[in-house]
């Protein structure tokens, strides 16, 4: 299994961690995509994807938080007392999330208003905590950064796809702009903007994603 190959608790970083970097990247963004395979972080994926722009900012936020927290957790992994490791992880994650939130509030006020509480809720996003606990605690910093980027991209890409189709079908626009010909001809379907539309869109995207990826190889028991 791929899992065994990338578990490199003792590996010496050379190149991109002895060639494990690419595998980690593929694992996070594709074969073990946090959203479409592990079905984590659904709450925010449903809530903010009514506009492509919102989806992209949310994706960027998650990449930032995931990379930052993975790096710090990995750097501190040999010094963190085992008993309080989860508290420590949450403290680190919360710090990065609030940093991003403050940045949005200061420089992208309108975006911050649209995303509302969902930036803050990244603190409780299972993807970030999951990667810190499952990966960064056992792996060296550079590989952990790669893992953070990979999972962040995996999340952001799915969000962008859903955001693109929801905005296109729900409003007939992209990035809040009219599209020549299409916008005149198309009658927007409001359902796609509303929450139920998000469920439908997410379900279809997960379905297509799994169809392309093919069936899961047999679990080794």
């Amino acid at each position: 299994m791929a899992d065994k190959q990338i578990a490199c608790a003792t590996c010496q970083p050379k190149g991109l961690c002895g060639g494990k970097g690419l595998l980690t990247l593929k694992e996070g963004a594709w074969t073990n995509n946090p959203l479409s395979i592990q079905v984590l972080g659904i709450c925010s994926a449903l809530a903010v994807t009514n506009r492509l722009e919102n989806s992209l900012v949310m994706g960027a936020a998650l990449i930032f938080v995931c990379v930052g927290s993975n790096l710090l957790v990995s750097l501190l992994r040999k010094h963190t007392p085992h008993r309080i490791r989860m508290i420590a992880e949450v403290a680190i994650i919360a710090t990065f999330v609030i940093l991003f939130d403050q940045f949005l509030k200061a420089f992208y006020w309108d975006m911050s208003k649209q995303l509302g509480p969902y930036v803050g809720l990244i603190i409780t996003n299972c993807i970030v905590m999951g990667r810190a606990e499952a990966f960064a605690l056992q792996n060296p910093p550079i590989l952990s950064i790669v893992d953070g980027i990979a999972n962040g991209i995996g999340y952001a890409a799915i969000l962008a796809i859903i955001g693109f189709f929801r905005e296109l079908l729900g409003t007939g626009e992209i990035f809040g702009r009219q599209i020549p010909i299409f916008s005149e001809w198309y009658t927007p379907n409001q359902l796609m903007i509303l929450a139920p539309g998000a469920f439908v869109a997410l379900g279809i995207v997960i379905g297509i994603f799994n169809a392309i990826k093919g069936p899961e190889p047999e679990e080794n028991k």
Binding site: P81, A88, I92, I98, K105, A106
Partner: protein
């Protein structure tokens, strides 16, 4: 296994480090956030007064438009925002209102014509009503209904009515179906604001 003292020290150091980073970030972004909050307030007053603002106006632009067009005046206990346009169009006078909604406080601005007979415009800048029902109060489709609404009934008593059905009146608008509670509460807080400004006049 590392000892309890180590665990405590580790937690204290990590906590302090995180807190320091966040304190620094908060104080660094404070002036920007303050400017944004000010611009947000100013924008809502401008919208209520029906002063046209560019689509993607920056915070500075909004404050500039506000300072150029609007004067703050104190009438008794009430702070008013008076708009006196340069061309001879009628001006407007805005006051803020606040009151309990269904789920949380509702805050907004109400603009009247200078003679205090009609509503010029209305905005809500803070509300937590049910999305899709009470939350619709922020939509222009609802807010536009108030433009031109008389603030007194036929007997001359100040007050407006937000209600579905019933007899049409110059001081009545249709509410939102499915959001009767929100409409009742909005009506109440608007009437309180109207009464206070009419009495002050």
């Amino acid at each position: 296994m590392k000892g309890n003292v180590y665990t405590l020290v580790y937690a204290a150091v990590l906590g302090t480090a995180c807190a320091m980073v966040l304190t620094f970030a908060a104080s660094f972004t404070a002036p920007y956030k303050k400017a944004n909050a000010e611009a947000e307030e100013v924008k809502n007053i401008l919208l209520a007064l029906n002063i046209s603002i560019p689509d993607k106006a920056s915070s500075e632009q909004l404050v500039e438009i506000f300072n150029k067009n609007v004067k703050e005046q104190q009438q008794g206990d009430i702070k008013t925002y008076v708009y006196t346009p340069s061309n001879k169009n009628d001006g407007a006078i805005a006051i803020d209102f606040v009151g309990p909604g269904l789920w949380g406080p509702i805050k907004g601005f109400l603009a009247l014509d200078p003679k205090m007979t009609k509503i010029r415009g209305i905005t809500f800048y803070e509300q937590e009503e049910t999305p899709g029902l009470g939350g619709e109060i922020v939509k222009s489709s609802f807010r536009d209904k108030f433009v031109g609404l008389m603030i007194r009934d036929e007997a001359g008593n100040p007050g407006i009515i937000i209600k579905n059905g019933g007899e049409a009146a110059a001081n009545k608008v249709d509410g939102i179906s499915g959001a009767t509670m929100t409409c009742d509460k909005v009506q109440e807080m608007l009437n309180e604001a109207i009464r206070s400004i009419v009495e002050e006049k």
